[in-house]
């Protein structure tokens, strides 16, 4: 990761513009520290010497840890997962969100990663819907209603990024509780709060609101940008969510993307349920029709609801006329892998590479690159527990996060060439 370096470049361009008004009341010696944050790119080793942080190994070890924790939940028992999610993302736009401890500012970082998150979320959960809520001046506003189109959310968010006032968890939860109460019972109600502030100014007793959320089965998760707060921890514990605090930008990205895969289903909802869905046909190119979602005439590339024949622009969505859930079959298929995740690969210490018995496999089975580091020093690599094929770290991440199939196992089973799995 280019954590340290990238930040400094960003910081450099920023400095001249807003240093004077933001850091105006700081003394000169303080300013150098607030800007540089030079301590962050160093770490102390066992003998007390300072050395630059080895980002790659660190990143990979974090990734492995996350993978293990995820898969331990998934493989322990075939846990039912909530594939149809109704998620509200709450963005705290209080005074604290304009702090500059993340570069260039907290809110810019949040916006950037929320955008990536929304795209990733729809990629992984094609059947789900997202809505955006902001907190500003102690009041919660609904920025976008629940919907399946990433573009509209992102556009709405980018227009509203001014921060001011206090933050109020209670107001946000009350608002969302009102919205989520109306959704059908097969959907999973979730809230993801990106919280910058260190306090919450509430009009009433927040404990009651938390109990209310718990009663209406809303799973609340919080990602803090500042420090651990008791009330957030309490909220997440009560409602079954996850509470994490971001250390820096890359960590924040990791934490927010952790919320993209579907969480285990809440027990009360785990009853099997039939849902009526329509698989609309794509309209012929060049045909003209009135779009039901934009209320205007559009040319080509739309979908037609199989029940009422209305035209919609994007899938997945709900038909505005008859209320039928419209999806396409690849959407369903893409949700499928969450139920049968691929087992995490075992990490092997590099010394095994020089083992004469295993001389054959010195290349990654995925990308065919050598597993040896430059200078013929053995590097870290991983082994699939089923097919015993070896993979490099990059392929490891690719297989688990995008491909969701192990090339080694697939080629074994069908004795087909590997390439057939890489679409």
């Amino acid at each position: 990761m280019n954590n340290g370096g990238g930040k400094r470049i960003n910081g450099g361009t920023e400095e001249d513009d807003d240093e004077d008004d933001v850091n105006g009341d700081l003394d000169a010696w303080e300013r150098t520290y607030t800007d540089e944050r030079s301590w962050e790119s160093l770490q102390e080793d066992e003998s007390g010497l300072l050395r630059p942080i080895d980002n790659k190994a660190l990143y990979h070890s974090q990734y492995r840890r996350r993978l293990r924790s995820l898969s331990s939940i998934a493989t322990a028992a075939r846990i039912q997962k909530g594939l149809i999610r109704y998620l509200y993302v709450v963005i705290d736009l209080s005074r604290a969100a304009s702090e500059m401890d993340f570069r260039p500012s907290r809110i810019a970082v949040i916006a950037k990663h929320v955008e990536a998150f929304i795209r990733e979320f729809f990629d992984q959960n094609p059947l789900s819907q997202v809505g955006l809520v902001t907190i500003k001046d102690g009041v919660a506003y609904c920025l976008t209603d629940l919907g399946g189109s990433p573009e509209s959310h992102i556009k709405a968010l980018m227009n509203k990024l001014e921060c001011s006032g206090d933050s109020s968890l209670q107001n946000a939860l009350d608002l969302i509780d009102g919205y989520l109460n109306q959704i059908p019972s097969y959907g999973h109600r979730e809230v993801l709060i990106l919280y910058s502030a260190l306090s919450t100014c509430d009009p009433g007793d927040i404990m009651e609101t938390i109990q209310k959320c718990k009663k209406s089965k809303i799973r609340c998760s919080v990602i803090g940008l500042a420090a651990e707060m008791f009330i957030c921890k309490h909220l997440c514990q009560e409602t079954g969510g996850i509470y994490t605090v971001a250390l820096d930008e890359s960590h924040f990205k990791e934490l927010i993307l952790e919320h993209a895969p579907p969480p285990p289903a809440i027990a009360e909802f785990a009853i099997a349920n039939l849902i009526k869905m329509g698989f609309p046909q794509r309209a012929a190119e060049g045909s003209m029709s009135i779009c039901s979602c934009h209320k205007e005439a559009k040319v080509g590339a739309g979908y037609t609801c199989p029940r009422c024949k209305a035209r919609v622009c994007e899938l997945p969505t709900e038909c505005c006329i008859c209320g039928l859930t419209l999806v396409s079959s690849p959407h369903l298929a893409r949700s499928y892998h969450h139920l049968f995740p691929i087992a995490p690969f075992d990490e092997v210490p590099p010394s095994h590479l020089n083992d004469p018995n295993n001389k054959l496999q010195r290349n990654c089975f995925g990308c065919q690159q050598s597993l040896l580091n430059p200078g013929n020093k053995p590097g870290l690599f991983v082994v699939c527990p089923n097919c015993k094929r070896r993979f490099c770290l990059d392929c490891d991440i690719y297989i688990h996060e995008s491909l969701h199939n192990c090339p080694g196992c697939e080629s074994f089973r069908h004795s087909k060439p590997v390439i057939s799995n890489e679409e």
């Binding site: 003394d27 306090s199 509430d202 707060m229 008791f230």
Partner: protein, 699 residues
């Protein structure tokens, strides 16, 4: 888990043990083997209590031929309950592994206020009136009267307990105060007297410091304890102050006025008795001639006061003739009160040694030392004879007699200081006569002499070599353990300069400097904007806190702080402070965030925990030195220098840093907790810290 330390199999109820707990146990075992006293320091949150309990109970289990008794002294009722709960867990574990032979009897003993189950008595608001309420129902003469006249109220629980007589025993087990109450209610026996009775038979007794250190109470409760006991003083970093307080008395004008009222009432009673039942007074007179030793056959309920001096000396002697008769004794007391009133009239601060004071009493009031020495016992006997039950009304005269006995008994280690007004408010006359004890070893000496092993332990005992000198004993083991941390859960810092590079300190010549006040304000302001939930700030004194908050208010800093967090302030009023604390906790709970301003030697700094989110940061503004111009402190310092060769500066620094460490220690109560500590004073870095004071891992 079960493991071996030398020849002892230790039963430890948890699956894991910290390395420091293990080495703590080894040292403790050595001290027990050597039958000597020991001094052990181990930081809070490392499981001191369970290490102590599990080693000592296992030790006595492994040596069944010489059972030892464990006397565990805690500072507060809350700690007592926690200790007993821990012991219960341990006991269950031992029974599971060893079967019935591991059975022990462990009880907690507290005042009637905490143990009484009689609803009418419990309705009283404070401890003294609960005690008096109990006596009104259980005193022997009240019960004798009730036997004749069924309309006289008695306590049902006590009557049942008396009826059960020797059958009233507790089955083996661990009893917290709550369990005792529940047991008492179920059986209909009085839990307080049952517990007091069972103290002699119990293997483990948990009670407060006072029951051993305060000679007034110790004589009744603890005199039957066997020599083969292990006494533990937990959280004992302030033990010298507890000892001193137990032997110090202060007399104010109100005390003297109250004492006069009490004397009038006693004289009425005497007159009444003379008219109705003169034989009683005569019987008392005869008994006094034979000496107070015969008092032993009085029933236990009447046994409510005892001698503050060393009991052995006095009980062998007969009461001197001039105070044997009730009227004469009363005259002596009246003269004493008159004399004290005269002394309080003074315009200047006076300091006197007890010897000089006694000489002056005997020349001016005609009371000799021996008579003074017997005052306390004589009053006790008189009140029993007069069948006075509402003892809470007679606290004033008891104070006077307590004073007289102490003055009469001790020639050294005390001084009498008369101050006509409080130094901070010289315009308001508030004369006070203080008999202050300077020698902590006086009160604790009987404990060291009597018991085989005394363990003094706490989270902060550094410098560990000072305690044996203060308390005048020779420990066989004195060790200090450091906490092993799996992660960096504390972050102590010393701040010497503000953001404008000016040094900060609460040194006397600097404390009111606007630059220092502003820097402190800016420090706090920056902290409240980055620290979540609760922050605790400690100031060196109430007056300094008031001053600095006023300045912050004027300069607008306070307002800016309030934007981030709510502000709560400790005051000298207990009720107000409790309310503030309550709201502070609520503000932390609901996520609003709060700051608590407190004073380093106040109630909050000593007894209230700010664990977890209630204290993520503690800031110590300045170094909490004692008020060095106080006459009492000066007298004590002088005594320490002359007797124990402890330099004034050393003692003051030790005391200040012990206080500071206590304050900041409030926020970390276990290894799972985390927090930050800031000491904002330049003196800490340059003058005070080079020695290995404070938290061990402070670099």
């Amino acid at each position: 888990m079960k493991f071996q330390i030398e020849d002892v199999t230790v039963y430890f109820p948890y699956d894991h043990i910290y390395p420091e707990q293990y080495s703590y146990m080894i040292e403790l075992k050595r001290a027990l083997d050597a039958k000597g006293h020991c001094l052990l320091e181990m930081p809070t949150g490392t499981g001191k209590t369970i290490a102590l309990l599990s080693l000592i109970t296992s030790y006595s289990l492994s040596k069944p031929q010489s059972p030892i008794k464990l006397i565990y002294c805690t500072r507060t009722v809350h700690e007592m309950e926690k200790t007993l709960a821990e012991l219960k867990l341990l006991h269950n574990y031992q029974i599971k592994h060893l079967g019935p032979q591991a059975r022990i009897l462990a009880i907690g003993l507290s005042s009637r206020k905490n143990l009484c189950v009689n609803p009418t008595v419990l309705a009283a608001e404070n401890r003294d009136s609960v005690d008096a309420g109990c006596r009104k129902l259980t005193a022997s003469w009240v019960r004798a009267m009730a036997a004749e006249n069924p309309n006289v109220p008695t306590c049902q629980f006590f009557e049942n307990y008396e009826k059960a007589a020797s059958a009233a025993v507790l089955p083996p087990g661990v009893y917290t105060l709550q369990d005792l109450r529940a047991f008492g209610k179920e059986k209909g026996w009085c839990p307080y007297f049952l517990a007091r009775h069972m103290v002699q038979f119990a293997n483990v007794v948990v009670y407060s410091y006072q029951y051993l250190l305060d000679p007034k109470v110790a004589g009744i409760i603890s005199k039957e304890m066997q020599k083969e006991s292990v006494v533990i003083f937990d959280e004992a970093h302030n033990i010298d102050n507890v000892c001193i307080e137990a032997l110090s008395v202060s007399v104010r004008r109100q005390t003297l006025e109250g004492a006069t009222r009490n004397l009038n009432r006693i004289s009425h009673e005497i007159d009444r008795f003379k008219a109705t039942d003169a034989s009683r007074l005569r019987a008392e007179y005869n008994r006094l001639v034979e000496g107070l030793a015969l008092r032993g056959n009085l029933p236990i309920t009447d046994n409510w006061l005892s001698n503050p001096a060393l009991p052995d000396d006095i009980l062998k002697e007969a009461v001197p003739g001039n105070i044997r008769r009730a009227e004469h004794f009363l005259h002596v007391l009246r003269r004493l009160v008159q004399y004290l009133r005269g002394r309080l009239e003074t315009e200047n601060v006076e300091k006197e040694s007890p010897v000089g004071f006694v000489a002056s009493i005997s020349s001016h009031a005609g009371i000799d030392q021996k008579a003074l020495k017997f005052c306390y016992d004589r009053l006790h006997s008189l009140m029993l004879t007069l069948e006075i039950t509402d003892t809470d009304e007679f606290l004033h005269i008891q104070t006077i007699c307590d004073f007289a006995t102490l003055v009469g008994t001790y020639g050294r280690g005390f001084s009498i200081i008369i101050e006509p007004f409080d130094e901070r408010m010289p315009h308001i006359p508030d004369p006070v006569l203080q008999l202050s004890c300077h020698d902590a070893s006086l009160a604790i000496k009987p404990v060291f002499d009597r018991f085989q092993s005394v363990v003094i332990t706490s989270g902060t005992l550094s410098p560990i070599d000072l305690y044996p000198r203060l308390l005048n004993f020779h420990p066989v083991v004195s060790r200090s353990f450091t906490m092993s941390l799996t992660r960096d859960c504390i972050c102590p810092m010393v701040l010497t300069r503000g953001s404008d590079q000016l040094p900060v300190s609460t040194k006397f010549d600097m404390r009111s400097d606007p630059g220092v006040v502003r820097n402190y304000g800016k420090l706090l302001l920056e902290m409240v904007s980055v620290v979540p939930d609760g922050i605790v700030c400690f100031f060196v004194s109430y007056s300094y806190m008031d001053g600095i908050i006023n300045t912050w208010n004027d300069t607008g800093i306070l307002k800016e702080i309030m934007q981030h967090k709510l502000v709560f302030i400790e005051t000298q009023d207990v009720v107000e402070t409790t309310l503030a604390l309550d709201n502070y906790r609520r503000a932390c709970d609901c996520g609003r965030g709060a700051v608590f301003f407190s004073v380093a030697r106040g109630k909050v700094a000593e007894g209230i925990d700010f664990d977890r989110h209630y204290g993520r940061l503690v800031i110590m503004f300045g170094v909490p030195f004692q008020y060095t111009l106080s006459k009492i402190l000066m007298a004590r310092l002088e005594y320490l220098r002359d007797t124990f060769q402890i330099k004034e500066g050393d003692f003051l620094t030790f005391d200040a840093l012990r206080q500071a460490a206590q304050c900041v220690g409030r926020v970390i109560r276990s290894k799972a907790d985390y927090g930050m500590m800031i000491f904002a004073d330049k003196r800490l870095l340059f003058e005070l810290l080079p020695s290995s004071y404070l938290i061990p891992d402070m670099d």
